[in-house]
């Protein structure tokens, strides 16, 4: 259940009243008075009664609040209970805020909504204002652009990956220009060059495949046994690659390439794969090797450097990329 910021502030007042050993069993009027003092407005009695009911709900705070007929007031049946029972230091709060800011920038609106509720819950407990994106000075910028296709399904696909829930969706292939209804056993969501992809075992293709989120239409969760892919295969598919679309029938292999003086520094500063190793020449150019499954994106990357990058090995890749040499 989502909790608004204003409700949380009232919950904190109620919590404080119920934990006050010097004035136990506060009535609803006492709580109203405390709210008027602490907050900038006076909530209605109905609101406060509803707040108490909500606080008692297991999916909200599971607060052990009871009304004592004898003392005509509310009390915690567990004297150790408090909604402030999460020990956060000021440093923790700052770190959470920074992490949230980073998530907002990387994940954009779609992720922000998911996290903001949870973070808000924690920060409101500490009377910390949730960072308002509109008023905050932006200090981290990514190239995420609002309005990209496919993000509307992000949460559903995330849940499907998390819960290992098979899904059916319609898929459009940009290359073959074909629609197909597909059943996929999702493994993970992957971001590459600011685009998001679903990686999963496709029943239709009978192997692990990559699907761009922008080409996925109306995924539905299925009541179907999840097919677990071989963990080594998954690891290799996800890690032994630069990019997301491996070339078919190409195994993991050593790729050796030569970079010109102009671009060597960039490859040294930002390795394109974890396996990258370099051997610098006296001139400043460099030979690099990577151990990967060749991908469409790797070819695209190599081609993008034109004459500044030359594939040495394997020969077939050299042939595919030498047109611009």
């Amino acid at each position: 259940m989502a909790i608004s910021k204003s409700a949380y502030k009232r919950y904190r007042v109620i919590d404080k009243m119920l934990r006050n050993k010097f004035k136990p069993y506060p009535t609803i009027d006492d709580i109203l008075e405390a709210c008027e003092d602490s907050l900038e407005y006076a909530p209605s009695l109905d609101t406060l009664e509803k707040d108490i009911r909500n606080m008692k709900q297991a999916d909200v705070l599971d607060a052990p609040i009871e009304y004592c007929r004898k003392n005509k007031g509310y009390w915690y049946t567990n004297p150790n209970y408090s909604i402030n029972s999460i020990p956060l230091t000021e440093e923790d709060i700052t770190t959470i805020k920074e992490a949230l800011d980073l998530i907002k920038n990387i994940g954009g609106k779609r992720v922000n909504e998911r996290f903001s509720e949870a973070i808000q819950k924690i920060l409101a407990t500490y009377s910390e204002e949730f960072p308002d994106g509109n008023s905050q000075r932006k200090i981290i910028q990514t190239d995420y652009v609002e309005g990209a296709k496919g993000y509307e399904n992000f949460n559903k696909l995330y849940e499907a990956c998390k819960n290992q829930n098979p899904i059916s969706f319609a898929h459009y292939s940009y290359n073959s220009r074909e629609f197909k209804a597909i059943i996929v056993h999702p493994i993970l969501l992957k971001e590459f060059e600011n685009r998001w992809y679903l990686i999963g075992y496709s029943e239709t293709h009978n192997n692990i495949r990559t699907f761009g989120l922008d080409r996925i239409y109306e995924p539905v969760l299925l009541k179907r046994k999840y097919i677990e892919s071989n963990s080594n295969e998954v690891e290799s598919y996800c890690n032994d690659i630069y990019g997301v679309y491996p070339l078919e029938n190409q195994p993991k292999q050593t790729i050796r390439f030569l970079t010109s003086i102009k671009i060597t520094n960039y490859f040294e500063a930002y390795p394109i794969h974890a396996t990258q190793k370099g051997e610098k020449n006296e001139s400043g150019s460099s030979f690099f090797t990577i151990e990967v499954v060749p991908s469409i994106e790797l070819i695209r990357l190599f081609r993008s450097y034109g004459r500044n990058l030359e594939v040495i090995h394997p020969n077939w890749l050299r042939e595919q990329t030498k047109t611009l040499l």
């Binding site: 629609f179 197909k180 179907r224």
Partner: protein, 138 residues
């Protein structure tokens, strides 16, 4: 064994009776509605990919009982006579048609935009739904 009145989906991928017809992707049977998903890809046949629309009289028909269920809603496609013009012959469109709920039992359906229509009309004949092929939706 799937109980009746569940949410079921059939992944079908059936080509229509004309080469420029959309592909029938999925039929979903819900207790309240029947939803049919299509994917359309424009061709070189028309300038700028032509247009797309669906007749509001479109219906699905049980070939045995002859019971008909008329279109109740369309998402992603314009109801005729209005039409949506494409911009190129490399465009595509995903759309869904909604009909009243049909019984959740083995059946053969015709999906008819126009009775005795030509190859350009979105007609699909003898679409077999076998409950053993249905997948339950969560």
């Amino acid at each position: 064994m799937i109980k009746k009145n569940k949410k079921l989906v059939f992944n079908l991928n059936i080509i229509g009776h004309g080469e420029s017809n959309p592909i029938l992707l999925r039929i979903s049977l819900y207790p309240e509605i029947t939803k049919i998903d299509f994917g359309y890809v424009t061709t070189d046949k028309y300038n700028y990919g032509g247009w797309i629309k669906i007749a509001p009289e479109t219906f699905i028909e049980n070939t045995v009982t002859k019971e008909r269920f008329v279109l109740t809603n369309a998402v992603g496609i314009t109801l005729a006579p209005a039409k949506r013009n494409f911009e190129s012959n490399k465009d595509w469109q995903y759309f869904s048609l909604y009909f009243p709920a049909i019984p959740q039992k083995d059946c053969i359906l015709n999906i008819i935009e126009k009775i005795k229509g030509n190859k350009n009309d979105f007609n699909y004949y003898n679409v077999a739904l076998k409950m053993e092929n249905a997948i339950e939706i969560k």
